[in-house]
Amino acid sequence: MFGIMNIIMSFLGVVIGIVFGALPGMTATMAIAVFLPLTYSLDLGQALCLLLGLYVGGISGGLVPAILINIPGTPSSITTGFDGHPMAARGEGERALKIGITVSLIGGLISLLALFFFTPPLAKLAIKFSAVEKFLIIVFAMTVIAALSKGSMTKGVFAGFLGVLVTLIGRFFDNQQLRMVPSFLTVELGSGFQLLPVLIGLFALSQILLEAEAGMKRNPKMEGGIKGGGRGFSFSDLKGQGINTIRSSAIGTFMGILPGVGGSAASLLSYSQAKNFSKHPDEFGKGCVDGLVASEAANNALTGGALIPLLSLGIPGDSTTAVLVGAFLLQGIQVGPLFITQNPDLWRDILLGLVVCNIIMFVVMFYPIKYIAKIINIPKNRLYPVVILMCVVGSYAIRNGNMFDVWTLLIFGIVGFVFSKTGIPSAPFLIGFILGDDFEKYFIDVLKSSEGSFAAFFNRPIGNVIWVLILISLAYAYFDNKRSKKLEAQNIELQNKA
């Protein structure tokens, strides 16, 4: 039953999510990772409402500092500041914020429609999958990661396979043998590294370490209020933005479906498309409403899109939904093709929860925007110690009190730090880590039933369709990688000339 507790949890989630989103250096992924332990004792419906609220709020809150101080609150609001900040600079801060919030709501709801219509048929198709297709769909997910790691394709794939290798540490389910475990850690590492401390480390602790390295400088203060004497907001501001909003939402949703693509890629693509289609592309970057709409519609549309592969195939669409996998596992629920048929109530709760969270987000941000804007003045160096405390609690409690999991948290915090220093993306690593066990299981299952013959991977019709998709994405990866390298070289040349 979707009751009053679900609404309260959604509200809590949205508000806390907005705070995390609005503080640069704290992200939606971090919010979910940190609050996951609170869900241990909630029932699944309420837990999901809290987490979806954090997700929607976290993505939405990012527009506040992007517009007011030109620093994106989350990676997905990078392009929001391009046009939002010039608007604020000429005294239209409130107008920019309210336009952003309104199209965020529309983007979120459009992606929800996509989630509602596309997930069940995709899941229905996936139920017919044998081990061959299940294995191939994971390979496909990995190649898509490669295709979309702009200019750093090999590093993206490397991160993905490294994640697979790390998740294989521990006991193999088939023959109960340990592998890659040092002899003094056979008890602690028998079941491998736990997902939750790994992801909290990668996405929360490493972020804090990066901020510590930079000296935890305070964000620039917002000058004056959000009302600067410029034009105020009216809903007629959105006239003529219909096509832009729908196109941007569609791009955001689609980018959400592709595994390993974050909100930043979605909003960048949607922004550049809006510029391409615009009749006045010169105004982009100078406070053009179209640019703001494109960015905000796309990053909120990502939320629904990223849930589609998660709930139909069990493959997370972005790092935040990868954290949601952890939430489902904690409650003993396997996400995958059977999820909707086995849990119809939960599926309804998720859809309802997302509608409610989007509406709460709008109400909480639109009317009291004057106060919401003040969030960016919260000193984050006072919040980080508390975040660390919650990370520790979450990691410790995952196996009912195991200090090794707190060590895991620290280790992967440092790993995440090293990754970002060496340009290795963390999201593909996490996706590899999550899918690695299944990757191995299906591979071994197929070879066992075919008595070792690799031909088994090629003699199923749906499997061959997936092979074609894999080849297409590899070809795309190759050419796109070449093109973006060329563009990069041209840019460097231009800069050198200048």
Binding site: D174, R179, A212, E213, G215, P385, M403, F443, E451, F454
Partner: protein
């Protein structure tokens, strides 16, 4: 091509395959770097100009936070959750703060005691989550 799965050694099949893939990827990354180094005329290994940390990085805050974290783990083993958290959260607050005045020390103290007790109450007492 065939690959017979023998039960007693099956646990090494996938790790080996993944390791081979990783080595191949490393070679590709190295070759790519070599080509781009040749084009731009920079040496392949350039230790002199290599910077892992950002220029002017905050040694105290970064190393201090890792060290405090390790201390925190040991404190939890010996002192249990609440006192260990109050001490560590206080240390982290002082460490992350950019000023060390009396007023900011008091703020650090209030935050560390307040939040540690709050989290202990919410997680440990209200939600009955296992704490150290």
């Amino acid at each position: 091509m065939k690959l017979k799965i023998i039960n007693s050694t099956s646990h090494w099949v996938m790790p080996r395959i993944v390791m081979v893939i990783l080595v191949i990827l490393l070679i590709i990354i190295a070759v790519q770097r070599m080509i781009s180094c040749k084009k731009t005329g920079t040496p392949f290994i350039n230790l002199k100009n290599y910077r892992f940390f950002m220029p002017g990085w905050d040694k105290e805050k970064l190393l201090g936070s890792i060290l405090t974290f390790i201390v925190y783990i040991y404190l939890m083993e010996f002192l249990t959750f609440l006192p260990a958290s109050i001490i560590s959260i206080f240390l982290l607050n002082v460490l992350f703060d950019n000023e060390r005045t009396k007023k900011s020390m008091i703020t650090s103290g209030v935050i560390s005691v307040g939040f540690s007790i709050f989290i202990w109450l919410v997680f440990g007492v209200l939600f009955r989550i296992t704490l150290p």
